[in-house]
């Protein structure tokens, strides 16, 4: 580990589903307070990488640390010890995740979705959790939809509830899987504002996105992935404006 300990660190992460190799040796460090955007073509393994960081997928080789703690295992010097569920859960609670398909709880209203974590996991008092939740919903522009069920929300509205739900846990780091894919440009601006504010508060973020303009706005560093590998990694401006690898260049030129 470096002197400036990264908040998220991946080393040789390898993951396959059956015979499909999805991540083929990923090395990545995200510093505290850094916003790291991951771009790359469809199927390149971006979503899978985020899921591994949250231990929703077990990896077949390599290691991941979040905030200095190894994900899923304890390092006992000569061997790795699988962590008990309780410990895995405690660590997950410190990482917020926004899914590409939202995965809101359909039997709960927007507000109930947002307070479920704080009340059920962090054991906050209901009143406090609801107040915080309402504040978060307002922040994503959904104050008046607090009592609507997900089914009655448009795609964009669902997406924003999902963001509020993850933020409600006051996580150390946030993982976003295409946070703007269902938003109109106006709302992208709003989410951008939210994310910038988060960044200013020192929130570490990994953001999978396919909107290069969005990456340019929000990212400190950009990672370009292709076929399960990191092709290019560096400060946002460098990667987007002056990419080194021909593959990245090809990808970016297609962006109109």
């Amino acid at each position: 580990m470096n002197v400036h300990t990264p908040l998220i660190l991946a080393e040789g992460v390898y993951k396959r589903f059956g015979r499909t190799e999805v991540l083929r040796g990923i090395d990545l460090a995200v510093a505290p307070g850094e916003v790291c955007c991951i771009i790359g073509p469809s199927g390149s393994g971006k979503s899978t990488l985020l899921r591994c960081v949250n231990h929703l997928e077990k990896i077949q080789a390599g290691r991941i640390w979040v905030d200095g703690q190894m994900v899923g295992y304890a390092d006992h010097g000569d061997h790795l010890q699988e962590l008990p569920d309780r410990e895995v859960q405690r660590r997950r609670a410190q990482i917020g995740m926004v899914f590409q398909r939202f995965n809101l709880f359909p039997h709960m209203t927007a507000l109930e979705n947002v307070v479920e974590g704080p009340i059920g996991v962090s054991r906050r008092p209901r009143a406090e959790a609801e107040e915080h939740a309402r504040w978060l919903l307002e922040r994503v522009g959904l104050a008046e939809k607090a009592n609507a069920y997900p089914r009655h929300l448009s795609g964009g509205q669902q997406q924003r509830v999902a963001i509020a739900r993850a933020l409600a846990m006051r996580p150390r780091a946030m993982l976003f899987d295409e946070p703007t894919s269902a938003l109109d440009p106006e709302l992208v601006g709003e989410v951008l504002t939210v994310m910038k504010a988060l960044a200013a508060e020192g929130m570490t973020m990994m953001v999978v996105t396919h909107e290069v303009s969005f990456a340019r706005e929000v990212a400190d560093t950009v990672v370009f992935m292709d076929e399960g590998q990191i092709v290019e990694h560096g400060p946002a401006r460098d990667v987007i404006i002056d990419p080194q690898s021909p593959r990245t260049r090809e990808f970016l030129t297609r962006v109109s």
């Binding site: 929703l56 995740m97 899914f99 479920e116 974590g117 059920g120 846990m169």
Partner: protein, 298 residues
Amino acid sequence: MPVRPLRRPWRWGAGAVIIVVAALLARSIATNPRFEWSVAWDYVFSRQLAEGALMTLQLTVICMVIGVALGITLAIMRQSDLWLVRRAADLYVWFFRGTPVLVQIIFWFNLAALYPVIAVGVPGLEPWVTLDANTIITPMAAALLALGLNEAAYMSEIVRAGLLSVDDGQREAAQSLGMSRARIMRRIVLPQAMRVIIPPTGNETIGMLKTTALVSVVAVADLLYVTQTIYSQTFQTIPLLIAASIWYITLTTILSIGQARLEKRYSRGAHEVDTTPWTHRVRISLARFHAPVPRRLS
């Protein structure tokens, strides 16, 4: 311009046939002297049938509580990642679905014939506790044990189907919040599975009302047993069965209403449940055709 709804003459024809057939059947049933309606009515309000019905209801409630609780446990065990736990639950389901409940009742009731003394302890050593099987297993206990344990096997299949119906994304989203397995099950998965679990569970409950009749082999006097007892003395079979059926259908109606309530409660957020009473709905759809087109707004 007025809107004319689709003419569907065959539908109205079918409707008319249904009504006529229903009316004819109803008349024929009400007037057929062989049904001896007056005898049936007298028995409906007799003490004996009322007591039998109460016993049936008690047995049903207790056995379903055992069945549902154990059934959920078994369904969760069957998803365990420990092979032995999974197989033990499978074995349970296989065995209890496999043997007739009549055999199970007789077995529990007569445990004493097989094991006159139930000894708890370490094999080879002096037992810690020794119990006389005949004392602890009363007919009622045998009935509850047999029906409850048997029901659990069936319920576990129903719960399993319910769990299958919940999208994996739900579990993942809950996991990412750091929720524990137990809490995910209780707050996220089960409430969503309920929509799929409730209707077959209603079946089981209503079926149980009738299955309790099997306990008559150990002389627990449920509704059907009481009825049979009476008609095997008086030979008024049909009016007595009608009286019992009136009780059963009453209990079923109550349970069905409970089922509908539960279904509604667990469908919140899930899909459109039109709760408008139908009289109102007719008025709305009539009104729609006459409603003025709203002012042009753009």
